[in-house]
């Protein structure tokens, strides 16, 4: 009976959490294939980002400090260090009726992140937790800035 009561509380809470997370995931999808790397060696993470059709997000380098640039933040890890992220060139989005352009990404693009593992990194599966922060617009609205969490799977050999 107690278990049932807990289920009644927990299930709706999870459903609500699921709904909250669904919207941003709808605009941005991230795929990161597993990287296989030897302990003590370097590798490059290639994350694929897909922006929902009709939307664009601000680029990593924006031409106005008020805009929200796209950034990737990777949680610190005692065995793995990350290097300078390489974003693709931005596309220009004209603000109709003005001479201004936005620097944006749309469609599918790749971000490359170099990593280096320490020699003493334990072998096996390893996950780096990361966040993708962006601000999206389509031709009808601009959405509030959002962060979505994702995982970078590594296999240390």
């Amino acid at each position: 009976m107690i278990m049932m009561n807990w289920a009644i509380i927990i299930v709706p809470v999870f459903l609500l959490m699921g709904n909250k997370k669904f919207k941003p995931a709808d605009i941005v999808k991230i795929k990161v294939p597993e990287i296989v790397v030897s302990a003590g060696k370097r590798a490059v993470i290639k994350m694929e980002v897909e922006i929902k059709k009709g939307y664009h997000i601000q680029a990593n380098k924006v031409n106005d400090e008020l805009l929200i640039p796209t950034i990737v933040k990777i949680d610190e890890d005692k065995n793995i260090t990350t290097g300078r992220q390489k974003f693709p060139p931005a596309k220009k989005f004209k603000l109709e009726g003005t001479n201004n352009f936005l620097e944006v990404y749309d469609g599918v693009f790749e971000i490359r992140i170099p990593i280096k593992t320490k020699t003493k990194t334990p072998k096996g599966e390893h996950i780096l937790d990361a966040k993708f922060h962006y601000q999206a617009c389509d031709n009808r609205t601009c959405l509030f800035p959002k962060s979505i969490g994702f995982s970078i799977p590594l296999k240390i050999i």
Binding site: Q58, L67, E96, G97, C137, R140, C142, L143, F144
Partner: protein, 183 residues
Amino acid sequence: MKSILKSLVLISAAIFSIVAGAQEVQPMLGQTAPSFTLKALDGKTYSLEQFKGKYIVIHFAATWCPFCNAEAPYLQELSKSYRDKGVEVFIVDVKEDKELVQKSLTRFNFSFPVLLDEDGAVSTKYAPAGVQPDLARHEVPLASNLIIDKEGKIRFYSLLNTTAFDAKLTMLKEKLDSFLNSK
């Protein structure tokens, strides 16, 4: 002959799309504007009711919104040139804290009040029912412009349309002029 016909079709399509864009149905027209009382960057509190008898232009904005920022200098210009005609301009900044708004908007040197809708409640009230139903309601009015008449009724409501973006507020000014000239 074929190429002339083709050109005519293309030109007609372009004209149609411009006219269709301009004549887009605006939401909430004729409705009483939802009331609000908000604090502004200048420290004062403003309510819609206190401006009854004046035309009010409201722009919903956020500091990171590129379309809002593109319109900002033209809003300032509009405020200056229409103030003597009995028009009050406000920005309603949505869901941002005072310090950020204060710091970010300094560059625009606004001479009109920037109201702080810190919890998004006012923006939510102005989200037209059925428009962008999958969005959080406070997100819907962002970058929109409204004209509220002397009786507190919504007379103009342009939601963001980036394909026919009117940064210079040409349509809004035309509407204002027509209201002011018809009194």
